[in-house]
């Protein structure tokens, strides 16, 4: 009996692979060839296989050849396997496709990204060929014989992708009746309702889906995105607690961080900083978000009198902002103005040697020297020279005015103030603020 079942599984696997165009992406030739040999052994046709080494070629193959099965390494030349998954999602025309990623990395954020990109199989290296075959077979069998619930959802998704909204809605309504916990059907129903601009009803659908499973990831992310788009920030933050139990990809983490600041949940930023540290490949967007959030929250905590917590936020920001001059200047300024000089000096060391030729570094150095009572005038001279040499930057003018005023040179400060206003009349108020930007030492 077991043998009959095994034979049937093998037949389904063979039928599936023999009818599919397959793309194998691996930077290593022997690994590509080995995978191709194995797939042919399982029933794939050699003429249907395309083997490539790098991202750019793979992307072209996806666009031109439209493969139905992709097996890729995570680390490929000039890109990643997940970026290919994103390309694949743009062209795939049915649910009967398969995307397999092979990686030595099991970090939470990469698994979350894989889920968002609809990756079917995530194989951790090193693996045994038996495990690979078992997982592949299981996934193909699931695709070949889905439950009635999944069938309805898949049909609904197809209709949704063709913008046949009423037809899609009908499929999702029917799917709801095929499961005792139809959260996913409710999620897709909400997507149709969003397309139809029925936002209130979509919100209710997502809440309905969460009644069956209060931590259903798709319903949570769907509700979060919908509330964010509708500007219901406090409500959106209300579901973040449930959402952050899942690994967050950099894009979603950026959104959560931004929301925490907008809704004044400054103390929570620490928690998101920990999540940020877990991210293996951080893009510029998430780095900027976490730095900005730490700086803003640090400033707010200083205002609230939570001095040490505020300083710890800024210290963390300085680590992540290493080499980013304008953020580092803001960190040094805030720490120095609040008498955390050793921490401000540590942040100053995060400027790269190249950026020490920029005015941000000179202003930061001025502030530290000024509060320490050492020679700060040399930095003021540097700033003035930079302006005289034609450096035309609003921030440079602002800080030169501030530094001159703090150095007890009000006439010179006034002179640069007038020159600044003449160049940028719309910035008059901004330049006037420079006169009070650096608190007098005796006030500290």
């Amino acid at each position: 009996m077991a043998e009959v079942t095994q034979n049937k599984s093998n037949q389904i696997l063979s039928d599936y692979l023999s009818s599919k165009k397959i793309l194998i992406v691996d930077p290593n030739g022997p690994a590509r060839a080995g995978m191709a040999r194995m797939l042919v052994g399982l029933g794939a046709k050699s003429s249907n296989l395309t083997l490539v080494a790098d991202y750019e070629v793979a992307r072209e193959v996806i666009q031109n050849l439209k493969p139905e099965v992709i097996i890729t390494e995570y680390t490929i030349t000039k890109g990643t396997g997940l970026e290919l998954a994103s390309e694949f999602n743009k062209i795939k025309s049915s649910e009967n496709t398969l995307f397999v990623i092979l990686t030595a990395n099991s970090s939470q954020s990469i698994v979350a990204q894989a889920a968002e990109e609809d990756v079917d199989i995530y194989i951790l290296k090193p693996y045994t060929m038996n495990y690979f075959l078992e997982t592949l077979t299981k996934a193909i069998l699931n695709k070949a014989s889905p439950s009635d619930y999944v069938k309805k959802i898949n049909k609904g998704k197809q209709s949704l992708s063709k913008n046949k909204l009423d037809e899609a809605l009908d499929y999702f309504e029917k799917a709801i009746t095929f499961s005792s916990t139809p959260s996913l059907a409710y999620y897709y129903r909400s997507q149709v309702e969003i397309q139809k601009k029925m936002y209130e009803i979509a919100e209710k659908s997502l809440e309905e889906g969460l009644k069956f499973n209060e931590v259903h990831y798709k319903c949570l992310t769907g509700l979060f995105d919908l509330l964010m788009d509708r500007g219901k920030l406090q409500e959106a933050y209300g579901i973040v607690k449930r959402l952050v139990t899942f690994p967050l990809n950099p894009k979603r983490l950026s959104k959560v961080i931004e929301l925490a600041v907008k809704t004044a949940h400054y103390s929570d930023i620490d928690k998101y900083y920990e999540a940020f540290k877990e991210i293996e490949f951080r893009d510029e967007e998430v780095i900027k978000h976490i730095c900005a959030a730490l700086v803003v929250s640090g400033k707010m905590l200083f205002q609230k009198g939570e001095m040490y917590k505020a300083a710890s936020f800024l210290k963390k920001a300085s680590v992540s902002a290493a080499g980013r001059s304008s953020i580092l200047l803001e960190i040094v300024t805030t720490l120095a103005n609040n008498q955390f000089l050793p921490d401000a000096k540590e942040a100053l060391n995060r400027f790269t040697p190249e950026s020490q030729q920029e005015f941000h570094y000179q202003v930061a150095s001025f502030l530290i020297a000024y509060y320490e009572g050492s020679n700060s005038w040399k930095h003021v001279t540097w700033l003035r020279q930079s302006i005289e040499q034609g450096n035309s930057d609003v921030q440079l003018y602002y800080w030169t005015i501030a530094a001159l005023q703090a150095s007890n040179k009000p006439d010179l400060a006034e002179d640069y103030l007038l020159r600044g206003i003449k160049k940028w009349p719309e910035k008059k108020e901004f330049f006037n603020k420079a006169l009070k930007a650096i608190p007098a030492k005796k006030a500290l």
């Binding site: 290593n28 690994a31 090193p126 495990y131 999944v150 607690k241 139990t245």
Partner: protein, 140 residues
């Protein structure tokens, strides 16, 4: 414990990150195989009584005997050590600056070898379950 706590605990368990450290000595040539920092030695596949490794080129030949010292670390803590002698069955050049080497173990502890494989296969299963639950459970 709330259901959120349950989920967070499960995810941490499911995303356990392992690091495999591999030291290889070529017994035949009596030389340690030292990789470049940017191209470390890695294991790509577990075979029944052997494995497929990526090694620096010109460090070994087919038929050579190797000494493998493998350590499995979890959160910077060593959780398993596997030592073995192994014979090189085949060598293939690759597009990168490493060679693909298939080895068969000679002297090894089958119990520890199975344990290493089991740790990985359990981790694989959990990651697949996590992926499924993030995408949306098939019946929910």
């Amino acid at each position: 414990m709330t259901s959120e706590d349950d989920v967070a605990k499960k995810i941490a368990e499911y995303c356990k990150s392992f690091e495999i450290k591999v030291d290889v000595k070529n017994i035949t040539s009596s030389r340690n195989i030292i990789p470049k920092q940017e191209s470390p030695i890695s294991i790509s596949e577990f075979l029944e009584k052997g494995m497929v490794l990526y090694l620096p080129p010109l460090t070994c030949s087919q038929g050579h005997q190797l000494m493998l010292d493998i350590e499995l670390h979890e959160a910077n803590e060593k959780i398993l050590a596997f030592n073995s002698t192994a014979k090189i069955l085949s060598i293939e050049s690759t597009d990168s600056d490493l060679i693909r080497v298939s080895v068969k173990f000679a002297q090894f502890d089958p119990f520890i070898w199975k344990k290493l494989q089991r740790i990985y296969s359990e981790s694989q299963e959990k990651l697949q379950v996590l992926l499924g639950s993030l995408k949306g459970p098939k019946n929910g």
